[in-house]
Amino acid sequence: MVDFIASPLFNGLFTAMVVFLFTTGLTLIFGILRVLNFAHGGFFMIGAYVAFTLVRAVGAQTSVLGYIGVSIVAGIVTGLCGIVVERVIFRPLQKVDESYSLIATYALLLITEGAVKSIWGVSFHSVAPPDVMNGAVFAGNLVMPIYALVIIALGVLSYALLEWILQHTETGKLMKSVASDPWMAGMLGVNVPRFYTYLVVAGFFMAGVAGGLLLPNQTLSPNLASTFVIQAFGALIVGGMGNIRGTFLAAILLCVVDSFGSLYFPAVPGLLFYIAMTLALLFRPQGLIAGARI
């Protein structure tokens, strides 16, 4: 019972929150700027590498506070990158066709991969989670690593926080108004270009923080960027073109299905994710949450 239902459910939820944490910044930028940012994976990776360097410099990562602090520093570094990227790339892209912006962000992904290779080299690295998170909680036969529980909690927390900001604060209302009609928002006195800058910086900050938080979860290599980005696109599009709630639900749906899939079809791990994604796109092309932007 536990082996066949509870355990894959738990693993699915864990990967879903990993994907969701990765996708938040991507969703914000896509929801408002309509730029499908391939390079998001690249900046996630840079965040992870920055966090790795900091952990190495301090010594072993022991305290929870250090873990969070390192992640925030990583987020600040990628956020600063975001300022440059917005000025140099995203702003001019507003004038060109959508497919060109896809190419531009892909080019940026190449640049980040090259930067990571030349700064940190191509060898693989890994980091253990802080000591407190090293154990596991047992509920009957179900083994729940504390680190996985922390990530699930972080995923749900950040979803709740974003939802609250979007639905109940002035900033959120501003975001919605710019998303639905930037021209009109500009007419009503919103400084739309500056708003875009803040937004891109926030999105890149989230990419870096996610890179730091998820660092203990994966092996660091220059391929990290391209492995995550496709799953993130899946969650984003199945969710419904860049709204946070849809992305959250889509990430859970796809990852839980995939987790059950890996249990029953172990020969091809990961296959069910894309089959579920294909079916979701065919039967509900407007996305799980249609119409709502952001």
Partner: protein
Amino acid sequence: MKSLFPTQLGRDAAIGAVIVIAMLAMPSLASKGFVFILGTLSLHIVFGLSWNLMFGQTGLVSFGHASFFAIGGYAYALTARLYPDLHPLLAFSGAGLFSAALALLVGMVALRRSLGVYFAILTLALSQIVYLVLSSIPALGREDGFTGIRRPMLDLGVVAIDLAQGNNYYYFIIVVSALLAALLWWVMHSRFGRAFRSIQQDPDRAAFLGINVQANRLAAFAIASGVTAVAGALYGPWLQLLTPEVAHWTFSARPILYALLGGVQSFWGPVVGAAGFAFLEYGTRTMHGFSEIIIGTILLIVVLVFPGGILGGLALLGKRVGSKVRNETRVEEAP
């Protein structure tokens, strides 16, 4: 130029002939390594040209074009292993037709339900499925790849050419690539091409004029997939190895880069783009890490400064220079 070649057919045929002759002459002029790069390049050119039939002509953004390249490659490799006596031309065209039929099936469902970014992401998901399946089938070599793909004996009735000898397979690649490119040129400039372009510009109006939008999109998707599958089929014996990497999404990004780098409006855009990319890759191959930075930066500059690609940028430049010259002559004539 206009007076030299009164028709587009004449001009494009002349350009094509020059390229093909130059490529055919290369083995006697250049080193073995360079010839290998050129053979690969010509298959990549077909890859890019066929993608642009969907994008530049019909307005479909496929992000899974590599999966058909891979399916063609693996289909040929498997056929050649299981039926070594089958005529290679039959095996190559069979791989193409098989992929075209597969594309027809996929397209019938996918194109009805999704367009634009949805279609792009849907093809991306499908190509990930192909990638995962190819990397897990033991008979296809899993992640290690399909090894020992032989270059076949080409029996043309009058003569039999052993493609494993010398540069024979290279010549074969160039000739077949040229034929595939000519086929794509013909499709683009036939009534199909005109229907495709009308759909790209405005699907509603095209439908109103009596063009079957659905069938034409499907046709573009199937033709592009079939042509790229033949290129994939040729790729296996060229490298004598196929790995699932040819189905990976980063390989699907290649034809997109080629077309946009060269310019999607022109037939020759993907050719210029693929050649430019190969040149960049070759020039930066020893610079570890920096090669991606350089390629990425150049791509960014092209996209941001010349959104029409290299050919679009050149055309713009030519127009500016042309109008300047005309203005100057007018000034001279004035007094």
